[in-house]
């Protein structure tokens, strides 16, 4: 397989092409509208971020592969499958809230569990909890930027959201399977 076919088949899917096009278009627009300096600042801060998160992506992927290899499907189905009930929900919500490190860490983990037998509603509960209750993001970003009062109100309101998502997801999949 030549390098170009490999690039095409394995590395450049539709999402990637979309982002390359978007980056080119937005970059050009920014450069025209605000000049060299704004463009360079935005580009170099992105470069720094990429260097910081690239190793995390690889580590999360390795974890995901080990999880798939080590934990028997039966165990995952019992704890996180469609029959896991409230216990599964509790595990997913707690796990989501404590998972550190952004989408580049959380999504590979979900892929690992989903392929080894975790149910759709559990994955949705986990992702919702990770999104709206994720402690890592709250402590590092939200508290310093938006302040204690705002964060407290938002967390209070967001506590039921993963449970609502879990119930809606259960309803949706049950209707489809029936």
């Amino acid at each position: 397989m030549s390098v170009i076919t490999y690039l095409k088949r394995e590395l450049l899917d539709r999402s990637t092409l979309l982002f390359i096009a978007l980056a080119l278009a937005a970059g050009t627009a920014l450069w025209f509208q605000k000049g060299d300096e704004a463009f360079v600042i935005a580009a170099s801060s992105s470069g720094m971020l990429v260097l910081l998160i690239a190793p995390i992506i690889l580590i999360a992927m390795i974890i995901s592969c080990y999880v798939r290899e080590l934990i028997p499907t039966a165990v995952i189905q019992r704890w996180l499958g469609s029959e896991s009930g409230l216990r599964g929900l509790a595990v997913a919500v707690l796990g989501g809230a404590v998972t550190p490190g952004g989408p580049f860490a959380a999504f590979p983990l979900v892929v690992g569990f989903y392929r080894s037998g975790a149910s759709f509603e559990i994955c949705v509960a986990y992702l919702t909890s990770w999104a709206v209750l994720g402690l890592n993001r709250v402590l590092i970003w939200e508290l310093p930027f938006l302040g204690f009062d705002f964060v407290l109100l938002r967390l209070l309101i967001s506590l039921p959201l993963p449970v609502i998502a879990w119930m809606l997801a259960k309803l949706l999949t049950r209707r489809r399977n029936a």
């Binding site: 982002f19 935005a42 490190g101 999504f107 993001r137 938006l146």
Partner: protein
């Protein structure tokens, strides 16, 4: 970021030690599988981050604040929930943007709806991670489930605000 590194490395070391006791698990195979899975991300994610930081600079902040002020009420909450999905980039880009809008006079319920919309529906996260890793069907169903959540958050914030 440091906390993420430490936590993930601790988990990884634990898993490697467990795998070491099982002769049927090959570290080499797992590593090459993980590298194969990571390579496409190493192109997609930089492109997504670059697009996000360029787009963030282009957002008309004042216009959004005028649209979603304290007086914008229910319409403001609905608009904010949808706009949240269109906010580009990760926390490094989104939170400074949100702070600027908060200071410029955006309503609290609207800001909560915007933030929740961004957390759950952000297009860049869906296209950069979720679609390629979990597939169209999963994403479609998850979006149906999560679409009402920013609205619920915004409306409860408004109700709670009146009650407090």
């Amino acid at each position: 970021m440091l906390s993420a590194y430490i936590t993930l490395i601790v988990i990884l070391v634990f898993l490697v030690l467990v795998a070491q006791r099982k002769p049927e698990v090959s570290h080499k195979e797992i590593l090459s599988q993980a590298v194969d899975n990571t390579l496409p991300l190493l192109i997609r994610i930089p492109a997504a981050i670059l697009a996000g930081s360029f787009l963030a600079e282009l957002i008309p902040k004042d216009y959004i604040v005028a649209l979603l002020g304290d007086a914008s009420g229910v319409t403001g909450i609905i608009l904010a929930s949808l706009l949240g999905g269109a906010l580009p980039g990760g926390p490094m880009i989104a939170f400074p943007l949100l702070l600027a809008m908060f200071k410029a006079g955006m309503g609290t319920p609207q800001l909560i709806a915007l933030l929740t919309g961004w957390l759950l529906l952000a297009f860049h996260r869906i296209f950069a991670y979720e679609l390629p890793m979990l597939g169209t069907e999963f994403v479609r169903l998850r979006l149906i489930v999560c679409l009402p959540l920013p609205l619920i958050a915004g409306f409860s914030a408004q109700a709670l605000g009146q009650w407090l």
